[in-house]
């Protein structure tokens, strides 16, 4: 599966420009983390990729064919978990997945449903009505419907929201395994999720791509721009982006990113979160 995004821009009827001049190539197998602050254009990009929106500029190619013409083929090979979705409450988990399997045209739905139910740890709730499920369980049903039929292209928007830490790790690993032979696009605010599994990162801000590359490359770009210091005076924080403030018995220990670290700050090895924040903060300046 190969997706090419060429000079894509998206302006809503309200006049709001959500994306501008976006160029990107996504190729399987890969697990791509999509990062960006709220309103950066991540959801718009994902809606464009699932053909819920049409770009106002540029074009998207799916396996070489323009999305307008290949919409049906794209939908047939897509698994999508939106951030905000609903389920038919009156159906059981199995019935709902059966419904989605039929929509997707899966030929052997029974085994596919069984497989995904196992994958998302919902065996015990397979015959329960959806209205009886907790928020985390509903999220797992959402993930299950995306995984149904082993689609070659998966898009997950904040998939671990509502899941407990154990489940988050489980799904992180699941996504990683899934991406071994497919193209997976993972949008999340939780840097930890991305750091541990993604082999490629895309950072979007204000509708443009700030970074594409591996997590290591992003971390490397922040080297020498992350430091720690003891907070003595509020004026110390001017020109810095504080990423952490830890209260200790000796005082407040601050971690910050900046283009140029002040002399009182001690340089530190950047984490992915630092690098991301550095990137965003640099853009803000």
């Amino acid at each position: 599966m190969e997706i090419k995004i060429q000079n894509v821009g998206m302006t809503y009827p309200s006049g709001k420009q959500a994306l501008k001049g976006l160029n990107l190539e996504l190729k399987s197998p890969s697990l791509i983390g999509l990062l960006g602050p709220n309103g950066a254009g991540k959801s718009t990009l994902m809606k464009l990729l699932v053909a819920a929106l049409m770009p106002t500029e540029g074009r998207i190619l799916a396996d070489g064919a323009p999305l307008e013409k290949a919409e049906r083929q794209l939908k047939a090979s897509l698994g999508y978990l939106p951030q905000d979705f609903g389920l038919f409450d009156e159906l059981t988990v199995t019935q709902f997945l059966d419904y989605m399997a039929a929509l997707k045209g899966i030929k052997n739905p029974k085994s596919a449903i069984q497989k995904t139910i196992q994958a998302v740890n919902l065996e015990e709730k397979a015959k329960s009505k959806i209205r009886t499920l907790s928020g985390g369980q509903r999220q797992r049903v959402g993930i299950a419907q995306a995984l149904l039929g082993d689609p070659p292209f998966l898009i997950f928007d904040e998939p671990t929201v509502g899941l407990d830490p154990e489940e988050r790790i489980h799904f992180r690993n699941l996504f990683s395994r899934t991406a071994q032979e497919r193209l997976v696009l993972l949008s999340t605010h939780i840097i930890e999720d991305v750091q541990s599994v993604c082999d490629q990162l895309v950072v979007i801000h204000h509708g443009t791509i700030l970074f594409t590359g591996t997590p290591e490359q992003l971390i490397e770009s922040a080297a020498g721009h992350v430091g720690v210091f003891w907070e003595r005076d509020e004026k110390q924080e001017q020109g810095l982006h504080i990423t952490a403030r830890v209260n200790t018995s000796q005082g407040i220990r601050c971690r910050a990113v900046a283009d140029k670290l002040p002399p009182y700050a001690q340089a530190e090895e950047p984490t992915l979160e630092d690098a991301y924040l550095y990137l965003i903060s640099r853009e803000a300046v």
């Binding site: 819920a52 979705f85 019935q95």
Partner: protein
């Protein structure tokens, strides 16, 4: 097609919803409203009361319920945000089409279920005149097709607005239009078809065809509107117009919508059932056409070939005129709207003719120029589907293998402006009918079979003397009854045989005719030694002329024959209805003002007298006089009779209902008691018989031929106060 593949899935999901089952259950139960609350068919035939009304109520309620279900279901996916998941898999257009198909299928299943549930109930209520064909057609057309219309209308409203609240308002307004503003327009009232009566004893093909036409017109219109709304389904984050522009790129989609709307428009404009007669009934311009100068009528012959399957008529007519004017003359004919005239020849040569667009009293005007020859034989061919004038009382021009009625110009073009010759308007009519049908010319003429055809039809011929003429034909039973010094030919529908036998119809006819002829005199419209009593298909009343009288089937239904206000047992109610030949038709009453004096008073009294003669004074006293007295005593004790000011305070519908009931009591019970009192005051039964005989045979004022209460009182030398019962 993906929608078809997904359809079973969506249907299964729909049927897993409790709301769907609730709506289905309510729809299945809704025909009960037609038995107790919503009764648009006001005829008293069994099929009107126990089939048409339940089916119409079921259709109206079901369409509304399924419309609301459609809005709820379409909105649910959006409201619960499942559409985000489904739209990522299949196009929202496909989903919408699949959901529509599922809803339509649920509607069809519900209609089928309703038919199954109501089959034994309807059969039980309707009794011996129940037929499966009427049942299936009534539930299919009056109810079944209403449900898809409701679904289409509601789904279109939702797809246009994408708001449940607004869609409900629009849908309910659309339903309300049909139930109020459009209620009198048979083509517009999509929810509640204009069905005023269904016949028990004869066929209902005409009214079923009319409803089917209306339903299909609306089905096409709403399918077109739905297709337009389908193009407006929001896609790619666009608004209504943006989505429309996007969806319309596939040109076949708007083309289908426009084709459906065009079909609907064409069906609306080209409806074949109702003519365009001038609604102003005071205009009679066709009677003002000047007679053709020097032209007299010699003879008319017509060969009529009804197609009882298609409901159409084909005919050839020939007219012989004597034209002594020495000039060409324009002859006018009345033709039934719906007929097409062709091949008009005078003495074998084509002559020019025109048919007016203007119509009056269910006739259009055909004008033909005849040559300046003395003897002219004008021939023409005509064919078509005879149209009617009253959209809210359709069925009069029923034409099927069970029944037909061809009146005047529907039989053959009617000469309008030619004076009769010495022999009047002699005519010889031949009509070819299915084997089971008997031809009954209305009047003294007698039809005879002149040919048994190879295709199983029979050709009948009769002679008459009129420019028009009425012919009834149907699957009739004819009873020959000698009574009152004449032969009564009593024709009634074969389906009604069991009811007629239970009511002792033949004996009742004999008893009534013997009694009334002896006591009041012969009927003025009796022609010589014979009188035809013809049971007609439900028509809203009967009429009589020249040796024949029409009995509306609604007067002889099982329900009416059990109406104890008219007699103790069905046979006596049959007597009551026949007595109306003397008091009602033979002598007319102005029944329009709701006053206690009507045709019912003397009819109930005469029925009592006949029953007294048949079964003795004690029986008549017990089942008639005592019954009247009891009802009248209750009437005088009625709260609203004692305090009429409170009646005026009630809501109009309630007031009219109570007033109608009280009026019935006065007509059927108080007035017979007053006549009985008059009988005592004038000196007994013999004296009263003489008075009634004189009134029956009095000279009529042609301007006001009704028998009034004052005339009755004057004849008895009594005043209103003399007959007070208090």
């Amino acid at each position: 097609m993906k929608a078809m593949r997904l359809f079973p899935l969506e249907l299964r999901r729909l049927l897993q919803s409790r709301l769907t089952w609730l709506m289905m259950a309510l729809t299945v139960a809704s025909p009960v409203l037609g038995l107790v609350l919503y009764k648009p068919a006001d005829s008293t035939t069994m099929l009107s009361m126990y089939l048409a009304n339940p089916a119409l109520a079921g259709g109206a309620a079901g369409a509304i319920l399924f419309g609301l279900l459609a809005i709820f279901e379409l909105d649910r996916a959006c409201r619960s945000r499942v559409d985000i998941l489904t739209d990522a898999v299949v196009s929202p257009l496909t989903t919408a089409l699949t959901r529509l198909l599922a809803l339509l299928t649920a509607a069809v299943l519900t209609a089928g279920l309703t038919m199954l549930v109501w089959l034994p109930i309807s059969a039980g209520l309707i009794g011996s005149v129940f037929t499966g064909a009427d049942y299936v057609l009534a539930y299919l057309l009056l109810m079944g097709l209403a449900l898809p219309l409701g679904v289409l209308a509601a789904a279109a409203a939702y797809q246009f607005t994408r708001r449940a609240d607004l869609s409900i308002v629009l849908f309910i307004a659309f339903c309300a239009l049909s139930l109020t503003v459009w209620v009198g327009d048979w083509q517009l009232c999509w929810l509640n078809p204009c069905v005023w009566a269904l016949s028990d004893d004869f066929s209902n093909s005409r009214i079923f065809r009319s409803v089917a036409w209306m339903r299909l017109t609306w089905l096409s219109a709403l399918a077109g509107v739905w297709t337009l709304s389908y193009l407006c389904i929001r896609q790619y984050g666009k608004g209504m117009l943006g989505s429309l522009a996007r969806s319309a790129r596939r040109i076949y989609r708007p083309a289908i919508a426009l084709a459906l709307l065009a079909c609907s428009g064409a069906a609306y404009a080209a409806q074949p059932f109702i003519d365009r007669s001038n609604p102003d009934l005071t205009v009679m311009s066709f009677y003002e056409i000047p007679y053709a100068e020097g032209v007299t009528f010699v003879r008319r012959t017509a060969q009529v070939f009804p197609d009882t399957n298609a409901g159409t008529v084909t005919g050839r007519a020939s007219y012989q005129f004597q034209n002594t004017s020495g000039q060409e003359q324009s002859i006018s004919f009345g033709i039934t709207p719906g007929y097409i005239i062709s091949n008009v020849k005078a003495n074998g040569t084509d002559v020019p003719f025109t048919v007016s667009g203007y119509q009056e009293y269910n006739e259009a005007r055909l004008e033909v120029t005849i040559p300046a020859q003395e003897d002219v034989e004008l021939t023409m061919e005509y064919s078509g589907f005879p149209q009617e004038s009253l959209p809210t009382m359709q069925g009069g021009k029923e034409l099927s293998s069970e029944y037909l009625c061809l009146e005047n110009a529907a039989l053959s073009p009617r000469v309008m402006n030619v004076l009769p010759g010495e022999a009047g308007y002699p005519a010889e009519i031949e009509i070819t009918l299915p084997e089971a049908m008997i031809a009954i010319p209305f009047g003294s003429s007698r039809a005879e079979v002149i040919a048994e055809n190879a295709d199983g039809t029979r050709t009948w011929r009769y002679e008459t003397n009129s420019a028009g003429g009425i012919l009834y034909a149907g699957d009739y039973i004819c009873e020959q009854i000698e009574a009152g010094g004449m032969t009564i030919e009593f024709y009634y529908g074969r389906k009604h045989q069991a009811v007629m036998e239970e009511a002792g119809a033949v004996d009742a006819v004999k008893a009534v005719v013997d009694y009334c002829t002896e006591h009041y005199g012969k009927l003025s419209y009796g022609a010589g030694d014979t009188l035809k009593l013809i049971q007609s298909r439900v028509a809203g009343g009967g009429y009589a002329a020249n040796g024949a009288s029409l009995l509306d089937e609604a007067d002889f239904t099982i329900a009416n024959l059990k109406d104890t206000s008219k007699g103790a047992v069905p046979g006596e109610i049959f007597i009551h209805e026949l007595v109306h030949q003397w008091w009602g038709l033979g002598n007319m009453f102005d029944d329009s003002d709701g006053s206690p004096w009507s045709s019912e008073g003397l009819t109930v009294y005469t029925t009592y007298r006949i029953v007294k003669e048949l079964y003795g004074a004690d029986y008549a006293q017990k089942y008639y006089v005592d019954q009247w007295q009891q009802v009248v005593d209750d009437y005088y004790l009625n709260f609203y009779v004692r305090h009429p000011e409170y009646l005026e305070m009630l809501p109009e519908a309630e007031r009219l209902n109570i007033a109608g009931s009280l009026s019935g009591v006065r007509r059927y019970n108080e007035m017979p008691l007053k006549i009985l009192k008059a009988e005592q005051l004038v000196g007994g039964e013999e004296a009263m018989d003489q008075i009634l005989h004189d009134l029956f045979n009095r000279e009529l004022d042609p301007m006001y031929p009704y028998l009034t209460y004052q005339e009755f009182l004057d004849a008895c030398h009594l005043t209103e106060e003399d007959l007070n019962l208090g």
